[in-house]
Amino acid sequence: MAAGPGPSAGQQYRPNAFVSLPAELDPDTYDSSPEKRRAEAERLAIRARLKRQYQLQINNPDAPAVVENPALLRWVYARTQNVYPTFRPTPKTSFLGAVCAIGPFLFWMAVFKMDRDHKEKLIKEGKYERPFSVF
């Protein structure tokens, strides 16, 4: 006998690092509890406050030439100048540092050495045809 209708597309969908779950399939977005609503209200209050600050600045007749975005400045600072002070050598960072900094050197040294030894072996056996160079 035929099996019943299989799992729907919505049930088969699984989010991962590359795609996210749409809001329609996320049970978290349904049936907001009072705590969730209070959280949303607080977030809205923060957003409204920031919007008000921004609108006041850009609609100001004596507007400054550039309205700075402190969030952007913080982002830039965090990615550039805040990395070294907050860096700490741990086993994980040391291992990754060795792999990324010393690994390529060792890898390419091995590759070139093996390639040259192989070519040398072929030349000694007389099997290698020296390419003709016009330079």
Partner: protein, 157 residues
């Protein structure tokens, strides 16, 4: 910049007061604020926001910066320059990711196996050596015109 030291990102927050201060600094709720784990990678107290690209943000909302879909003062994701609308897109797909991977790998492996088999066991119509006219191109190959060319026959009757 002219921002004071306490408005700029700092080290990982250890006490609840530091967390609350960091959440206030980044314009976030204390409950929403979640810094990156303290692994010494250099994140400091920067908040860990969900890894969603700007493709997923509401296109109809009135953003302060519509092209970036970003509001003034809103905390910016660490990988913001990766998640802009010209680059990585994490929108939900019509077909689940694992199904797409499975279909693609099935197709790719089938094609590779067939090509591999074709290399190991080539099959083509039967061929013979190429036959040239004029006594196997005797004159073109530099044969002496005064001599009689050797007769070449490619058939047997």
């Amino acid at each position: 910049s002219e921002m004071s030291k306490d408005m700029l990102p700092g080290p990982y927050p250890r006490t609840p007061e530091e967390r609350a201060a960091a959440a206030k600094k980044y314009n976030m709720r204390v409950e929403d604020y979640q810094p990156y784990p303290d692994d010494g990678f250099g994140y400091g107290d920067y908040p860990m926001l969900p890894n969603k690209s700007h493709h997923e943000r509401d296109p109809w909302y009135q953003w302060d910066q519509p092209d970036m879909r970003h509001n003034w003062g809103e905390p910016i994701h660490w990988d913001f320059d990766m998640y802009i609308r010209n680059r990585v897109d994490t929108s939900p797909t019509v077909v689940p990711w694992h199904t797409m991977c499975k279909h693609f790998l099935i197709f790719l492996s089938a094609m590779l196996i067939m090509f591999g088999l074709g290399e190991i066991y080539p099959s083509y119509r039967p061929v013979g050596p190429k036959q040239y006219p004029f006594n196997d191109l005797y004159l073109e190959k530099g044969g002496d015109p005064s001599k009689e060319p050797p007769v070449v026959t490619h058939y047997e009757i």
